[in-house]
Symmetry: C2
Subunit: 237 residues, 2 copies
């Protein structure tokens, strides 16, 4: 068994890794729209919304648009997909409310107890593309206790741009090798590793629906864990 890497700070991807966005967005959409007589495949609605995610950020990563927060991108993407579901006429107030679904996502069940354990040994911070207000809402909703909120708003850019990982380490005054990126997406971990951070992959096989998520990393990582409890076990060993 390889020796566990020694690090001082853990940086977490949020959507998919810590919170179950697909179920949460699908449920919020159903709760808001079903009483208005809308019948949809709610999972497909969540998939369509998330499906616009990368393209929305790419404008900013590529420098074609000045930084705007993920809340703004989520809202644009909602406006883009509504016509596909016959909802082109949805009113402004409902759109605004629906956009807050991303602020109220539930954590996967392993996350809260694992974070409580990890907090006794490490700095803990989200390193997410979600903006500060969104992260603060998720933290209140799930009782996450962070040492800081890092990521897109701090760096005014989006993962996987190198700047976000570098800014995160520097915010804690740490060398990259003293930090570990924790994510369920191999692409995020590859970018973190390229900057010298340690990496931990969390399996989320149901991220995009049953059986539709990364069961294992497809890049080299320092730790590959079945869930966040398994990561805590590995880092304590």
């Amino acid at each position: 068994m390889a020796k566990s890497p020694t690090v001082k700070a853990l940086f977490f991807d949020m959507f998919g890794t810590l919170v179950d966005f697909r179920s949460g967005v699908a449920r919020a959409a159903e709760q808001l729209l079903a009483p208005r007589g809308v019948g949809l495949d709610w999972g497909a609605f969540a998939d369509a919304w998330r499906g616009e995610y990368q393209a929305g950020m790419e404008q900013i990563r590529a420098g074609r648009e000045a930084y705007v927060r993920l809340d703004v991108i989520h809202r644009r993407n909602l406006d883009r997909i509504l016509p596909r579901f016959g909802l082109a006429g949805l009113d402004e107030a409902t759109r605004a409310e629906l956009n807050l679904a991303w602020h109220r996502l539930d954590a996967w069940p392993d996350v809260p107890p694992a974070l409580a354990r990890l907090r006794t040994r490490f700095w803990l911070a989200p390193l997410s593309n979600g903006n500060i207000a969104l992260q603060a809402d998720l933290a209140r909703h799930n009782d996450f206790r962070w040492d800081a909120i890092l990521g897109a708003d701090l760096s005014r850019d989006y993962k996987p741009k190198p700047r976000l990982y570098r800014d995160a380490a520097e915010a804690f005054g740490l060398a990259p090798h003293d930090c570990m990126m924790v994510a369920c997406h191999s692409s995020d971990l590859a970018s973190a590793a390229a900057l010298g951070l340690k990496t931990a992959h969390i399996a989320r096989p149901d991220e995009h629906g049953p059986g539709k998520g990364e069961r294992a990393p497809n890049v080299p990582v320092d730790v590959a864990a079945a869930d966040l409890i398994a990561l805590a076990d590995a880092l304590e060993s």
Copy 2:
């Protein structure tokens, strides 16, 4: 009695307002240096160190130097004052350790219980010139529970530059008038008010030693409170 202002987020100055930096720095210096045979007026040493604070930030505010974190400025200022106290030869490790005194300051006694009350009603965040690592250490040391860490590292500049107050409101997706700056320094509150934030002054008459601190604001404020408990009372009324 005027009606209390209605706000959604409270932003806190840290040094002086929430933590007693003069006693903390003086004590840390004594604990570190007295065993080496150094005898000093420890309060005067703390005053001298803090006395370099504004000049160190002014280089960056004025655009004469790219942003560097307050930890770096504190260290430069320490190196600057040591010769005045006959300590030009102090070794590197002790200087580095002494610089961490700012990370381990104790809160004024009214602060922890007041923050716990305020947290049930408002977003709470430091809006300080202290960098993220420093704020995270102070939060762990004093069990502060923040929704985010705003301020210098987020804005890459120093108060009282307007950008810091504007960035803080925007981080929470709030209009300035939905935010309140809480500080024991009238200058900080004047700058926040100029951007449209509400303001609360906390009396810290002993900030710079007994009787050497602002007993009352010298600018118009929305609330003037004797301590943080009194602010919580005012905002709940």
